[in-house]
């Protein structure tokens, strides 16, 4: 039965990312003073889920052979917006959360519309829209702060533990994968998005709905980045329009995506891989903490990992034999 061999090969990169992450996590837990306890896992999970959500957001756009440099800013914007809207009881808090998610989706749609209908390059478009999103975030929260009636119970519930053991954040992550990623992947539009990234010309000639697919991809990117921002609000109970934080998340989302086996040229890879890539990338910092390495070296390490990862991804270009094909 050769079927399983094909599915395995297709998800090879994802499995690799999982393997790398597991190795790092085991190393981390083994050397952590507190060991493999639910609290240790929860802290690690909470930190990792934030980046995982933003990395998932980035994946949607990257598979269409685009890039979203505004994900970090949508993340921040959602954080600030949520710090105003997620207030009151659990019910009103949920309603507020939905509004924030809707806003994030709108941000994504804006990006998509400009790229698709304005026919502008994703790079510069998302740099510019990122500035706009950040500006709005800064308007919402010129100084870090929180709403007085913040829905603390809701926040704690979603960042605590389920059944006393499993981190709720992981459950939410799993739910997002099952309810957003998997349906997208298996849908006609999702496949068209991959096709657009693999060969837009062939996809067009095959009559696939490319424009709708790309718009959906950008919209979902905004949705997931906003989800990350909401989660950040749950952790910190507040909103802060931090430019540095936003830029960091954007950069790390790209690192996570590359580590997770998603090709920056489009058409290949899975958000699940990006999740593991995000967790692995985060784990670098955790590992350094556990091994008592000066945290000052962390940004450098993470930067070097990113450089290495993208260079490896470019290795296949050496196989091109007609040099004219290297050019646009």
């Amino acid at each position: 039965m050769r079927d399983w061999r094909f599915t395995l090969a297709e998800q090879r990169a994802t499995w690799l990312a999982l393997g790398v992450f597991l190795a790092m996590f085991v190393l981390y837990v083994a050397n952590h003073p507190a060991g493999f306890t639910p609290n240790v896992v929860q802290t690690a999970a909470n930190k990792g889920v934030l980046l995982a959500l933003v990395a998932m957001a980035q994946t949607f756009v990257v598979v269409t052979a685009g890039i979203d440099l505004s994900v970090g800013m949508v993340f921040i914007l959602a954080n600030c917006l949520a710090s105003h809207l997620v207030v009151g009881s659990a019910a009103t808090g949920m309603a507020g959360m939905l509004v924030v998610l809707g806003a994030g989706t709108l941000c994504g749609v804006l990006n998509g519309a400009i790229v698709i209908f304005g026919r502008l390059q994703p790079i510069v478009t998302t740099i510019a829209t990122g500035a706009v999103f950040f500006g709005i975030a800064l308007w919402l929260r010129p100084f870090p702060g929180s709403a007085p009636e913040f829905s603390a119970e809701l926040a704690d519930a979603l960042t605590g533990k389920v059944l006393g053991v499993v981190p709720a954040s992981l459950v939410v992550l799993a739910a997002v994968v099952l309810l957003v990623w998997v349906p997208f992947r298996r849908s006609v539009l999702g496949r068209a998005a991959y096709a657009a990234g693999s060969s837009e010309m062939a996809a067009y000639m095959s009559g696939m709905p490319i424009r709708r697919a790309k718009l959906l991809a950008y919209a979902l990117s905004g949705l997931l980045a906003a989800m990350g921002g909401v989660f950040l609000t749950f952790f910190t109970y507040s909103g802060e329009a931090s430019l540095a934080n936003g830029n960091t998340y954007t950069l790390y989302s790209i690192a996570a995506v590359v580590l997770g086996g998603v090709s920056l040229f489009g058409g290949r890879g899975s958000a699940v891989g990006a999740i593991f890539g995000a967790l692995a990338f985060r784990a670098i910092g955790d590992l350094m903490f556990v091994f008592d390495v000066d945290p000052l070296w962390q940004p450098l390490f993470q930067g070097l990992v990113l450089v290495l990862a993208v260079s490896v991804g470019a290795a296949r270009l050496f196989q091109v034999r007609n040099k004219l094909e290297l050019f646009g």
Partner: protein
């Protein structure tokens, strides 16, 4: 073969020389000045205008390098930390006695060139998209600088030469503006009168055709990135001179305005088209915009939104790609 077919070749072309985006940019500058003068008559006073030029000089230097890379059809997202690294490294060397102080500025620029070479190798030889390479390099340089300074604000102060260039002035004319003028004239010369400049435009237009014409495309791209980062580092050096010392993340605030200035000046984001005069106009425009916004007391958030909106607007007007390219 009649001679009428070939009109005096040079003269007939002046109508093509009028660059619409540049004219528009200068027009907007005049408009802004008028608007500003309505708000307050000080706005068009010579002292204020010179002050604006001085503030804009730093952005002007940095944007010059960015223009080179954008003309190629690429982008340099490592600008923020290249600027910072140039400032920090130059200041660092200053602390090493008189020899260090003398070599501070060249050293800062050299660091920038080194960063640019890494970018260039990634883009030209490894064929990695420039936004990815430069984004990654930015992270690495940040890591290096953070590790070097221990995360604190750098203590080294700028050398006397740096302060002379960045903060000094003679006969009312700030040296920073002169420095910008020198860099600018160099850029105009490079782009307009050298084989390198011609090659840059050609590659930005159609790299395949440039390659088939026998241009050493990889070397040109490498050199352009090296130059861009070197100039950016020089901008950092000037900034450190102006402020007396370097500061963490001092370059972050310059990335978006640099791109905006280049694009506003009519340089196509896809490469191959653009004149330095336009970039000058773009820099002045952004600087004026910034100052009007602060005079009107529009907070930072408004500036960010306006930047972003303007870039998108300008690109929709001038920088549309074809459906195939997008």
């Amino acid at each position: 073969m009649t001679d009428s077919a070939i009109k005096s070749p040079e003269r007939a072309g002046w109508r093509q020389r009028i660059d619409l985006p540049v004219v528009t940019a200068f027009g907007c500058i005049v408009l802004l000045l008028l608007l500003g003068s309505l708000y307050s008559p000080n706005f068009v006073s010579p002292t204020y205008l010179i002050q604006q030029l001085k503030v804009g000089a730093f952005l002007g230097v940095i944007a010059t390098g960015m223009m080179l890379v954008i003309l190629l059809g690429q982008i340099d997202l490592s600008l923020p930390w290249t600027v910072t690294a140039g400032a920090m490294m130059a200041s660092a060397l200053t602390a090493y006695g008189p020899l260090g102080e003398a070599l501070a500025i060249p050293f800062g620029v050299l660091c920038g060139i080194a960063i640019g070479l890494v970018n260039g190798i990634g883009v030209a030889y490894l064929r990695i998209p420039s936004m990815i390479v430069t984004l990654a390099v930015n992270a690495v340089v940040q890591g290096l600088m953070v590790a070097y300074t221990g995360g604190f604000a750098p203590v080294d102060s700028a050398s006397a030469a740096m302060r002379f260039l960045g903060a000094g002035s003679s006969f009312g004319l700030p040296h920073a503006v002169i420095a910008w003028a020198v860099v600018g004239i160099g850029a105009i010369f490079l782009l307009g009168r050298t084989t390198f400049g011609r090659a840059v435009y050609a590659i930005g237009n159609k790299e395949a055709a440039a390659y088939l014409s026998g241009i050493p495309t990889r070397l040109v791209v490498l050199a352009a990135f090296a130059l861009c980062s070197g100039i950016a580092a020089f901008g950092g050096v000037l900034l450190a001179g102006y402020g007396g010392k370097a500061a963490q993340s001092m370059g972050d605030a310059y990335l978006l305005p640099a791109i905006a200035a280049v694009v506003l000046g009519g340089t196509s984001i896809l490469g191959g088209r653009g004149s330095y005069l336009g970039t000058v106009a773009g820099v002045i425009l952004i600087t004026l915009l910034q100052s009007i916004l602060s005079v009107m007391q529009i907070a930072e958030f408004g500036r960010q939104i306006i930047y972003g909106a303007i870039i998108i607007g300008m690109m929709l007007l001038y920088g549309r790609g074809s459906a195939a390219r997008g």
